[in-house]
Symmetry: C2
Subunit: 206 residues, 2 copies
DNA sequence: GTCATAGGATAGAGCTACTATCCAAGTGGT
DNA sequence: ACCACTTGGATAGTAGCTCTATCCTATGAC
């Protein structure tokens, strides 16, 4: 398929495809001749990935480039997953760097779930986040962490299993990034429903 | 205090304060004379709210204006909370409107938690979100919803209790919006840690 | 009297993500 | 052979958004 067809299939305008090519998000097609290039279904899947990371997860071009570069360089899937995590957690943005920190909350989760007690970006991010919430007087109880982490334990297992399954690398990034994002949105919506429910109950007589 | 001092206290440049005044995010100060205006601590707290909604929650000026207008118009706190929810859930953005829809998952949560069975924006948003996740082959199990909603039930109770407590309206919006956002981020980070933990466990011998 | 500040208006900067135009070279279909 | 169409590459322009800067006149504090 050539550029125009790729555009029609994915719904992305040709000018934008060229832009992504220039920016290095989309690898160049196979040059058949000097003025013809052939694009594969992987290009289509890459375009879908770009759209999803932009519009759903809200990443910018530079962040998407980092991830797609890794995918194109063929780094191991596990390493790729770690990069996706760092990006979605916004650990690559300024003002979010912290050394290894520990909090009772972070330790508690690891113990509760019997997770390996090893430092990681994710753990530092969690500890920093819990600290932030407590500083803002938003309580993070052990019960809360227990309930959350219990639910997430099973999900993470599936996610990691998916990294070993063969398949399109674009889909791996898509699943990981979009999955993380959608789970966090799910909580947002559940919390809203919970608040609405409590409000109804508390004020129904008013 | 006058404009310059307000600027110094909050760290927001005077030009930006003028901008927020123009945009109607910040109510005008009390005009002492034709060329002097006095700003109260509420103005400072409003400025902090604006900053937090912009930089932490990621709302745009129009969204912030909607919320601050309601606050300035003195709508009931419960109504204000509902508006904050709609905004943080991005229910006011195009392409997110749906009628009343029901899913087994949404019904299950309400039944599990014994929440009132009434339609609401939050419930529709939840149902739409669950549908989306299932379409993307991301399973949303009853156990997951049980664990999440159980944890959130208690939090929501506190949140709603906070709406009746007296205090600065700016703080109410701040707490609600930032609180929702931080809870969803907490899940993001926990999921990352869970994934990292499972990855270590699964690959430690490789 | 002088200097700083107010409100009001208006313009422009800086960023990001496109979008449009032009080009010369080359191709596929008839 | 012809010609509409496509390619990569270059370059410039647009659109949306959030500020930021400048200029203005009136006026108040000291």
């Amino acid at each position: 398929m050539q550029l125009k067809e790729l555009s029609e299939r994915t719904g992305v305008p040709p000018a934008s495809i060229k832009f992504y090519l220039r920016e290095g998000l989309l690898p160049p097609g196979q040059a058949v001749t000097a003025t013809r290039a052939r694009y594969s279904p992987q290009h289509a899947s890459r375009l879908e990935l770009i759209q999803a990371l932009r519009r759903v997860v809200g990443l910018n071009i530079a962040q998407i480039r980092k991830l797609t570069r890794l995918a194109d360089d063929g780094v191991p899937r596990l390493e790729l997953l770690a990069a996706v995590q760092r990006t979605v957690l916004r650990l690559d943005e300024v003002g979010t760097e912290h050394g290894d920190i520990r909090t009772p909350a972070g330790d508690a989760v690891v113990r509760l779930r019997n997770w390996p007690d090893a430092p990681s970006d994710a753990r530092n991010a969690l500890n920093a986040h819990v600290t932030l919430m407590e500083n803002l007087n938003i309580p993070v109880t052990a019960e809360l962490l227990d309930a959350y982490s219990k639910a997430l334990d099973a999900i993470a297992d599936l996610d990691i299993a998916a990294t070993t399954a063969p398949g399109d690398v674009n889909r791996l990034i898509m699943t990981a990034a979009v999955g993380m994002h959608l789970h966090s949105q799910l909580v947002l919506k559940l919390l809203a429903l919970a608040q609405a429910s409590h409000a109804i109950r508390r004020y129904k007589d008013a």
